[in-house]
Amino acid sequence: MNRDEQFENRLSRQPVKPVPPAWRAEILSAAERAADSVHASRITRHVPWWRELFWPCPQAWAALATAWLLIVGLNVVSRESLPPTLARRVVPPSPQIRDLLKQQERLFAELVGPLEKSVADRPKPATPQPRSARREEFLSA
Protein backbone atom coordinates (compact mmCIF):
# COMPACT_ATOMS: atom_id res chain seq x y z
CA MET A 1 0.00 0.00 0.00
CA ASN A 2 1.55 3.30 -1.06
CA ARG A 3 1.43 6.56 0.88
CA ASP A 4 -1.56 7.89 -1.03
CA GLU A 5 -3.61 4.82 -0.30
CA GLN A 6 -2.57 4.95 3.36
CA PHE A 7 -3.70 8.55 3.53
CA GLU A 8 -7.05 7.75 1.90
CA ASN A 9 -7.56 4.83 4.28
CA ARG A 10 -6.77 7.02 7.23
CA LEU A 11 -9.37 9.53 6.13
CA SER A 12 -12.06 7.01 5.29
CA ARG A 13 -11.69 5.39 8.73
CA GLN A 14 -12.80 8.58 10.44
CA PRO A 15 -16.30 7.89 11.76
CA VAL A 16 -18.97 10.41 10.89
CA LYS A 17 -21.47 11.77 13.38
CA PRO A 18 -24.62 9.73 13.90
CA VAL A 19 -27.91 11.24 12.85
CA PRO A 20 -29.67 12.68 15.93
CA PRO A 21 -32.30 10.12 17.05
CA ALA A 22 -34.93 12.79 17.67
CA TRP A 23 -34.94 13.70 13.99
CA ARG A 24 -36.51 10.41 12.99
CA ALA A 25 -39.90 11.14 14.55
CA GLU A 26 -39.91 14.76 13.37
CA ILE A 27 -38.97 13.98 9.79
CA LEU A 28 -41.28 10.99 9.50
CA SER A 29 -44.21 12.94 10.92
CA ALA A 30 -43.54 15.73 8.42
CA ALA A 31 -43.47 13.13 5.66
CA GLU A 32 -46.71 11.65 6.98
CA ARG A 33 -48.40 15.06 6.92
CA ALA A 34 -47.20 15.59 3.38
CA ALA A 35 -48.50 12.19 2.28
CA ASP A 36 -51.87 12.86 3.95
CA SER A 37 -52.23 16.24 2.27
CA VAL A 38 -51.46 14.70 -1.11
CA HIS A 39 -53.98 11.93 -0.41
CA ALA A 40 -56.64 14.47 0.63
CA SER A 41 -56.04 16.57 -2.46
CA ARG A 42 -56.37 13.45 -4.64
CA ILE A 43 -59.70 12.62 -3.00
CA THR A 44 -61.06 16.11 -3.57
CA ARG A 45 -59.86 15.91 -7.15
CA HIS A 46 -62.24 12.95 -7.84
CA VAL A 47 -65.48 14.95 -7.91
CA PRO A 48 -68.38 14.20 -10.25
CA TRP A 49 -68.28 15.93 -13.63
CA TRP A 50 -71.32 18.04 -12.86
CA ARG A 51 -69.68 19.37 -9.72
CA GLU A 52 -66.54 20.23 -11.68
CA LEU A 53 -68.75 22.03 -14.19
CA PHE A 54 -70.42 24.12 -11.54
CA TRP A 55 -67.37 24.43 -9.34
CA PRO A 56 -65.98 27.83 -10.32
CA CYS A 57 -69.06 29.80 -9.22
CA PRO A 58 -72.10 27.77 -8.21
CA GLN A 59 -74.05 30.89 -7.16
CA ALA A 60 -73.83 32.30 -10.68
CA TRP A 61 -75.01 29.03 -12.18
CA ALA A 62 -77.89 28.90 -9.68
CA ALA A 63 -78.92 32.48 -10.52
CA LEU A 64 -78.83 31.70 -14.23
CA ALA A 65 -80.95 28.58 -13.73
CA THR A 66 -83.48 30.57 -11.64
CA ALA A 67 -83.73 33.24 -14.33
CA TRP A 68 -84.41 30.61 -16.98
CA LEU A 69 -87.05 28.93 -14.84
CA LEU A 70 -88.68 32.31 -14.28
CA ILE A 71 -88.74 33.05 -18.01
CA VAL A 72 -90.20 29.65 -18.86
CA GLY A 73 -92.76 29.97 -16.07
CA LEU A 74 -93.88 33.42 -17.22
CA ASN A 75 -94.11 32.16 -20.79
CA VAL A 76 -96.33 29.27 -19.77
CA VAL A 77 -98.51 31.44 -17.56
CA SER A 78 -99.01 34.12 -20.24
CA ARG A 79 -99.89 31.48 -22.88
CA GLU A 80 -102.48 29.96 -20.57
CA SER A 81 -104.08 33.34 -19.76
CA LEU A 82 -104.99 34.05 -23.45
CA PRO A 83 -108.40 32.78 -24.80
CA PRO A 84 -107.68 29.51 -26.54
CA THR A 85 -109.52 30.34 -29.81
CA LEU A 86 -108.11 33.83 -30.25
CA ALA A 87 -105.06 32.89 -32.21
CA ARG A 88 -106.70 30.27 -34.39
CA ARG A 89 -110.00 32.02 -35.22
CA VAL A 90 -110.16 33.29 -38.82
CA VAL A 91 -113.01 35.66 -39.65
CA PRO A 92 -114.18 35.30 -43.28
CA PRO A 93 -114.46 38.70 -45.04
CA SER A 94 -117.93 40.05 -45.54
CA PRO A 95 -119.32 40.54 -49.15
CA GLN A 96 -119.00 44.33 -48.79
CA ILE A 97 -115.33 44.07 -47.94
CA ARG A 98 -114.79 41.63 -50.81
CA ASP A 99 -116.40 44.11 -53.26
CA LEU A 100 -114.30 46.93 -51.85
CA LEU A 101 -111.10 44.92 -52.29
CA LYS A 102 -111.96 44.05 -55.93
CA GLN A 103 -112.73 47.70 -56.64
CA GLN A 104 -109.34 48.76 -55.20
CA GLU A 105 -107.62 46.11 -57.31
CA ARG A 106 -109.21 47.41 -60.51
CA LEU A 107 -108.30 51.00 -59.65
CA PHE A 108 -104.73 49.98 -59.02
CA ALA A 109 -104.58 48.18 -62.38
CA GLU A 110 -105.84 51.28 -64.19
CA LEU A 111 -103.30 53.51 -62.49
CA VAL A 112 -100.28 51.32 -62.89
CA GLY A 113 -101.15 49.38 -66.01
CA PRO A 114 -100.11 45.82 -66.74
CA LEU A 115 -97.02 44.77 -64.83
CA GLU A 116 -95.37 43.01 -67.81
CA LYS A 117 -94.37 45.20 -70.77
CA SER A 118 -94.76 43.81 -74.29
CA VAL A 119 -91.73 42.47 -76.07
CA ALA A 120 -91.78 45.32 -78.61
CA ASP A 121 -91.54 47.95 -75.85
CA ARG A 122 -88.46 46.49 -74.30
CA PRO A 123 -85.21 48.34 -75.10
CA LYS A 124 -82.73 46.43 -77.22
CA PRO A 125 -79.55 45.43 -75.54
CA ALA A 126 -76.66 47.64 -76.59
CA THR A 127 -74.32 45.60 -78.78
CA PRO A 128 -70.95 47.20 -79.52
CA GLN A 129 -70.35 47.80 -83.23
CA PRO A 130 -66.96 47.70 -84.93
CA ARG A 131 -65.07 50.99 -84.73
CA SER A 132 -64.60 51.10 -88.54
CA ALA A 133 -68.37 51.11 -89.09
CA ARG A 134 -68.76 53.95 -86.64
CA ARG A 135 -66.13 55.90 -88.49
CA GLU A 136 -68.03 55.43 -91.79
CA GLU A 137 -71.21 56.62 -90.11
CA PHE A 138 -69.35 59.66 -88.81
CA LEU A 139 -67.86 60.47 -92.22
CA SER A 140 -71.13 60.03 -94.08
CA ALA A 141 -72.81 62.36 -91.61
Partner: protein, 168 residues
Protein backbone atom coordinates in the same frame (compact mmCIF):
# COMPACT_ATOMS: atom_id res chain seq x y z
CA UNK B 1 -47.82 7.14 5.56
CA UNK B 2 -46.25 4.53 3.33
CA UNK B 3 -44.24 2.02 5.35
CA UNK B 4 -41.55 2.37 2.70
CA UNK B 5 -40.65 5.83 4.00
CA UNK B 6 -39.81 4.51 7.46
CA UNK B 7 -37.73 1.73 5.98
CA UNK B 8 -35.95 4.15 3.68
CA UNK B 9 -35.23 6.45 6.58
CA UNK B 10 -33.77 3.65 8.67
CA UNK B 11 -31.63 2.41 5.81
CA UNK B 12 -30.38 5.67 4.35
CA UNK B 13 -30.82 8.56 6.77
CA UNK B 14 -27.38 8.09 8.34
CA UNK B 15 -25.57 8.25 5.02
CA UNK B 16 -27.63 11.22 3.87
CA UNK B 17 -27.06 12.99 7.17
CA UNK B 18 -23.27 12.60 6.99
CA UNK B 19 -23.18 13.72 3.36
CA UNK B 20 -25.39 16.72 3.99
CA UNK B 21 -23.60 17.74 7.16
CA UNK B 22 -20.28 17.61 5.33
CA UNK B 23 -21.75 19.61 2.49
CA UNK B 24 -23.68 22.23 4.45
CA UNK B 25 -21.72 22.29 7.72
CA UNK B 26 -24.91 23.33 9.45
CA UNK B 27 -27.14 21.01 11.45
CA UNK B 28 -30.28 23.05 10.85
CA UNK B 29 -29.69 23.10 7.12
CA UNK B 30 -28.92 19.39 7.18
CA UNK B 31 -32.14 18.68 8.99
CA UNK B 32 -34.14 20.88 6.61
CA UNK B 33 -32.69 19.20 3.54
CA UNK B 34 -33.10 15.72 5.00
CA UNK B 35 -36.72 16.48 5.80
CA UNK B 36 -37.24 17.94 2.35
CA UNK B 37 -35.99 14.71 0.79
CA UNK B 38 -38.33 12.49 2.79
CA UNK B 39 -41.29 14.82 2.37
CA UNK B 40 -40.71 14.75 -1.36
CA UNK B 41 -40.63 10.96 -1.31
CA UNK B 42 -43.84 10.85 0.72
CA UNK B 43 -45.54 13.15 -1.75
CA UNK B 44 -44.24 11.38 -4.84
CA UNK B 45 -43.54 7.74 -3.97
CA UNK B 46 -43.39 6.96 -7.68
CA UNK B 47 -40.05 8.79 -7.85
CA UNK B 48 -38.23 5.98 -6.11
CA UNK B 49 -39.94 3.21 -8.05
CA UNK B 50 -38.12 4.28 -11.20
CA UNK B 51 -34.74 4.37 -9.45
CA UNK B 52 -32.46 1.37 -9.75
CA UNK B 53 -30.27 2.22 -6.74
CA UNK B 54 -32.21 3.75 -3.86
CA UNK B 55 -29.10 5.05 -2.05
CA UNK B 56 -27.73 6.71 -5.15
CA UNK B 57 -31.11 8.24 -5.93
CA UNK B 58 -31.54 9.57 -2.41
CA UNK B 59 -28.06 11.06 -2.39
CA UNK B 60 -28.84 12.77 -5.68
CA UNK B 61 -32.07 14.19 -4.26
CA UNK B 62 -30.23 15.36 -1.16
CA UNK B 63 -27.40 16.86 -3.19
CA UNK B 64 -29.78 18.77 -5.44
CA UNK B 65 -31.74 20.05 -2.46
CA UNK B 66 -28.51 21.10 -0.73
CA UNK B 67 -27.29 22.87 -3.88
CA UNK B 68 -30.60 24.75 -4.07
CA UNK B 69 -30.18 25.74 -0.45
CA UNK B 70 -26.61 26.85 -1.09
CA UNK B 71 -27.72 28.98 -4.03
CA UNK B 72 -30.40 30.61 -1.93
CA UNK B 73 -27.91 31.11 0.86
CA UNK B 74 -25.22 32.45 -1.48
CA UNK B 75 -27.47 35.40 -2.25
CA UNK B 76 -27.13 36.32 1.39
CA UNK B 77 -23.50 35.37 1.97
CA UNK B 78 -22.33 36.43 -1.54
CA UNK B 79 -19.65 33.76 -1.62
CA UNK B 80 -20.62 30.16 -2.14
CA UNK B 81 -17.38 28.98 -0.61
CA UNK B 82 -18.29 30.49 2.72
CA UNK B 83 -21.02 27.91 2.86
CA UNK B 84 -19.50 24.95 4.66
CA UNK B 85 -16.52 26.80 6.08
CA UNK B 86 -18.11 26.88 9.51
CA UNK B 87 -16.90 25.02 12.56
CA UNK B 88 -19.47 22.21 12.60
CA UNK B 89 -17.61 18.95 12.25
CA UNK B 90 -19.16 16.01 10.40
CA UNK B 91 -17.06 13.60 12.44
CA UNK B 92 -17.90 11.83 15.66
CA UNK B 93 -16.28 12.99 18.87
CA UNK B 94 -13.52 10.89 20.39
CA UNK B 95 -11.69 10.79 23.69
CA UNK B 96 -8.30 10.41 22.00
CA UNK B 97 -6.68 13.87 21.82
CA UNK B 98 -4.60 12.99 18.74
CA UNK B 99 -7.64 11.74 16.92
CA UNK B 100 -9.60 14.77 18.03
CA UNK B 101 -6.90 17.07 16.68
CA UNK B 102 -6.76 15.12 13.41
CA UNK B 103 -10.54 15.15 12.99
CA UNK B 104 -10.69 18.86 13.74
CA UNK B 105 -8.02 19.55 11.12
CA UNK B 106 -9.71 17.23 8.64
CA UNK B 107 -13.04 18.92 9.24
CA UNK B 108 -11.48 22.35 8.74
CA UNK B 109 -9.67 21.21 5.61
CA UNK B 110 -12.85 19.74 4.16
CA UNK B 111 -14.64 22.98 4.95
CA UNK B 112 -12.11 24.86 2.83
CA UNK B 113 -12.75 22.70 -0.22
CA UNK B 114 -15.22 23.97 -2.82
CA UNK B 115 -18.58 22.23 -2.33
CA UNK B 116 -18.31 20.26 -5.58
CA UNK B 117 -14.93 18.78 -4.55
CA UNK B 118 -16.17 18.18 -1.02
CA UNK B 119 -19.17 16.24 -2.33
CA UNK B 120 -16.98 13.98 -4.47
CA UNK B 121 -14.42 13.42 -1.69
CA UNK B 122 -17.16 12.54 0.77
CA UNK B 123 -18.88 10.09 -1.56
CA UNK B 124 -15.56 8.42 -2.42
CA UNK B 125 -14.10 8.21 1.07
CA UNK B 126 -17.10 7.82 3.34
CA UNK B 127 -19.66 6.24 1.04
CA UNK B 128 -17.20 4.10 -0.88
CA UNK B 129 -18.74 4.92 -4.24
CA UNK B 130 -16.82 4.41 -7.47
CA UNK B 131 -16.19 7.34 -9.80
CA UNK B 132 -18.82 5.92 -12.11
CA UNK B 133 -21.38 5.90 -9.30
CA UNK B 134 -20.36 9.38 -8.15
CA UNK B 135 -20.71 10.64 -11.71
CA UNK B 136 -24.21 9.19 -11.87
CA UNK B 137 -25.24 10.55 -8.50
CA UNK B 138 -23.91 14.05 -9.06
CA UNK B 139 -24.82 14.08 -12.75
CA UNK B 140 -21.31 14.94 -13.88
CA UNK B 141 -18.88 13.21 -16.25
CA UNK B 142 -16.79 10.45 -14.74
CA UNK B 143 -13.53 12.26 -15.55
CA UNK B 144 -14.82 15.34 -13.78
CA UNK B 145 -15.60 13.26 -10.71
CA UNK B 146 -12.10 11.77 -10.77
CA UNK B 147 -10.37 15.12 -11.23
CA UNK B 148 -12.42 16.77 -8.50
CA UNK B 149 -11.45 13.96 -6.18
CA UNK B 150 -7.75 14.31 -7.05
CA UNK B 151 -7.78 18.07 -6.55
CA UNK B 152 -9.67 17.74 -3.29
CA UNK B 153 -7.45 14.99 -1.97
CA UNK B 154 -4.29 16.93 -2.86
CA UNK B 155 -5.55 19.91 -0.89
CA UNK B 156 -6.40 17.72 2.09
CA UNK B 157 -3.00 16.07 1.95
CA UNK B 158 -1.19 19.41 1.84
CA UNK B 159 -3.25 20.75 4.66
CA UNK B 160 -3.07 17.65 6.86
CA UNK B 161 0.51 16.58 6.13
CA UNK B 162 2.07 18.04 9.32
CA UNK B 163 -0.44 16.52 11.69
CA UNK B 164 -0.68 13.29 9.69
CA UNK B 165 3.09 12.77 9.78
CA UNK B 166 3.09 13.61 13.45
CA UNK B 167 0.47 11.11 14.58
CA UNK B 168 1.05 8.40 11.97
Amino acid sequence: MPADIERLYDEHAQALFAFLLNLTRDEDDTRDVLQEVFVKLARQPELLRAARDARAFLIRLAHNAAIDLMRRRSVRTRHNEQFGAEKISPFAATADPDETAFRDELSAALGELPPDQRAVVHLKLWEGLTFEQIATVLEIPQNTAASRYRYGLDKLRDRLRPIYEEIK
